[in-house]
């Protein structure tokens, strides 16, 4: 209570300070539950708990060993990178349906630069990111300048990029839809280590030696390391959450998605924010492309197929509203883990793994209903 504008305090309706303070305390304590309910990621956390309980009861215990966990987290990591970027964009009030096709296209560009263009790995990675960023900016500019819904603009790019990937692959390979030999030509080294294979191997070896984790009779651990994609996933989740909740840009994302006009009137550079978010989603797709292409050593036209929907589903499970202005990055993180858990987990159970899609649709529907309910409750929308 010691700001410079204290002169306004001379107003008539000023109650005695101690009483007001006491009342304030009481109200704050009551609102604790409400504050928890107000977290957009609550649904995703609850969902994760439910799914975990479900698999704990039905699945082979092998699923909850370290090795099982890694198998679950691998697809979750790749999807999660996309889902977090998609979540930020959704909070900013836009969609990007082209990210799945962008993975195939970025994979093609990256592969062609290495195999056909003979570029060193680092140069190819940088060039692919720059190119993808430009594509994202084009998406964003079209949406902003035409004021068309991003849904329809990026739907066009879903097909354009998928088609271009096919055409480009045939051009680069002389007729095939698969470009091989990327892994061999990419070579080894630090850059490669950053984008493929496993990390933290010494740590796991040490853990095995200390008998902390399971190992084979010859002393090598059953899990030799963490796939780098999982580390990227964790790092991006942490960074995105920080940006969204603690920085000015994060506030602008919420504002741009909540009400672009109000945001503009308050001095928020809405167009810049949205364009940046489109660039970021394209770059997330590119990162996934590079991670998967380097791991597989090849790329094909079906890479990233339907990933745009999976990413949006994970973001919605994570608490994002389709109308923008509300959601969380950490929610998308949990959403992606739920996704990975269900897709892999079913193989640990006696259920037919074709149930996956049913489960997925059900989760999505539940999440949307839940989000809607929570939002109305928490914000008291009238």
């Amino acid at each position: 209570m010691t700001t410079s504008t204290a002169d306004l305090a001379a107003g008539p309706s000023r109650s005695a300070d101690p009483a007001a303070e006491a009342r304030d305390e009481r109200l704050r304590r009551v609102s604790l539950i409400a504050r928890l309910m107000r977290r957009p990621e609550l649904g995703a956390v609850a969902g994760l708990v439910l799914v975990t309980i479900f698999f704990a009861l039905t699945a082979n215990p092998a699923m909850f060993t370290l090795a099982g966990l890694m198998t679950v987290l691998s697809p979750a990591g790749q999807l999660g990178i996309l889902a977090i970027a998609a979540a930020l964009l959704m909070i900013g009030g836009e969609f990007d349906l082209s990210i799945g096709s962008m993975i195939a296209f970025a994979g093609l560009v990256f592969g062609a630069l290495i195999v056909v263009g003979d570029l060193p790995l680092l140069a190819a990675i940088v060039a692919t990111f720059v190119f993808a960023g430009l594509m994202g900016a084009v998406n964003g500019q079209i949406v902003i300048r035409t004021r068309l819904p991003s849904f329809i603009v990026t739907l066009a790019f879903l097909f354009i990029l998928r088609g271009l990937s096919l055409v480009g692959l045939k051009w680069a390979t002389g007729g095939s839809t698969q470009l091989r030999g990327i892994g061999d030509k990419a070579g080894e080294g630090l850059i490669r280590e950053l984008f493929s294979g496993q990390a933290l191997e010494p740590l796991f070896a040490w853990l095995a030696k200390a008998d902390w984790i399971a190992k084979f009779p010859n002393g090598t651990p059953t899990v030799t390391g963490v796939p780098v994609s999982i580390l990227w996933f964790l790092a991006i989740a942490a960074l995105a959450t920080y940006v969204l909740l603690r920085t000015r840009f994060g506030n602008w994302i919420f504002a741009a998605g909540g009400d672009p006009n109000a945001a503009r009137n308050s001095g928020v550079p809405v167009n810049l924010v949205k364009t940046t978010l489109f660039v970021l989603t394209a770059c997330a797709a590119t990162l996934v492309a590079i991670l998967t292409v380097l791991d597989a050593g090849s790329t094909d036209a079906r890479r990233g197929f339907q990933k745009e929907f999976e990413a949006i589903i994970a973001a919605v499970i994570g608490g994002c509203l389709l109308t923008g202005g509300y959601g969380s990055a950490i929610g998308a993180f949990f959403g992606a883990i739920i996704f990975g858990m269900v897709s892999i987990g079913l193989t640990y159970t006696s259920f037919d793994s074709d149930w996956f899609q049913v489960f997925l649709g059900g989760m999505l529907l539940l999440a949307v209903l839940f989000n809607n309910y929570i939002r109305r409750k928490a914000t008291g929308e009238r």
């Binding site: 306004l8 107003g11 504050r35 909540g258 001095g267």
Partner: protein
């Protein structure tokens, strides 16, 4: 209510004219507002209130006429210019986002920043404290500044929007029909706050078509009709029903009013 001494008014416009193609929206409007005074801008629909506000807040450029801020002629090319000159406009839609917290709305676009270089974060300790303080000061007990703006009542939202403009250094506050959608208790909350803002030495332009609300806080009244100023009256110089008739622009209303039992 005492009117501030007539030195240099905060805003003065003389014979402002604004055309949109062949439409003459404003044909010679004059008004002035001084520090510590509430000027009520009255007028029926289509009188040119909105165009006038938008001209004062920098959205439109006047076709001709003089526009002085603290005695100096100005020509705003964007709302940002007007804001920099200390003219803040609180529009009917309030420029608030219901799903965002009170603090985030309060500081939207002007977040207090800490840290250096790439590592900059919003100083939420400061932001929450300021928000809570400012709200407390106007008698709104916000349970917690994380609360979404959507949970506030219409009057409270209006007050948050005004408080935001005041906090960020407005000298003149233009309020666009702040009471039009509010109930009785909420209206009195907003009117009380306008009173408070005047006591702080700001000039207020209060746009309304409710004479009762205008009469409750206004020092002077400027009546607009068909793009012209019909006149400016001090509170001591005009009664409420005279003002009402003037605003309706004729005697017909009085006839209707009598038919309905004098309650329009």
């Amino acid at each position: 209510m005492t009117t501030a001494p007539e030195q240099a008014p905060l805003i003065e416009v003389r014979d402002i004219v604004k055309h949109f193609g062949s439409v003459i929206a404003l044909s010679g409007v004059s008004l002035k507002v001084s520090a510590g005074e509430v000027l009520c801008l009255l007028g029926d629909n289509g009188a040119g209130k909105s165009t006038l506000i938008k001209t004062l807040s920098g959205c439109h450029k006047p076709s001709s006429g003089e526009f002085l801020v603290e005695g100096r002629p100005v020509a705003f090319s964007s709302p940002r210019d007007a804001l920099d000159a200390g003219i803040a406009t609180v529009y009917q839609d309030l420029a608030m986002i219901p799903l965002m917290s009170i603090t985030r709305n309060f500081f939207m676009g002007r977040e207090p920043i800490r840290g250096f270089g790439l590592l900059k974060w919003i100083d939420f300790d400061l932001a929450h404290a300021v928000t809570r303080d400012e709200m407390h000061r106007i008698g709104i007990d916000i349970r917690d500044p994380h609360q979404a703006v959507g949970t506030l009542s219409g009057g409270e939202r209006q007050c948050v929007a005004i408080a935001r403009a005041v906090y960020f250094g407005a000298k003149v506050l233009i309020l666009d029909e702040p009471t039009s959608a509010l109930g009785v208790a909420q209206t009195s909350m907003v009117l009380k706050y306008i009173n408070l803002v005047r006591a702080k030495g700001l000039g207020v332009i209060f746009i309304t078509h409710n004479v009762r609300h205008a009469y409750a806080v206004g020092d002077r009244f400027t009546v607009l009709n068909r793009g012209k100023t019909l006149g400016t009256y001090a509170k001591s110089g005009i009664a409420m029903d005279e003002l009402q008739n003037l605003m309706a622009g004729g005697k017909e209303l009085q006839a209707v009013s009598e038919e309905l039992g004098g309650t329009v």
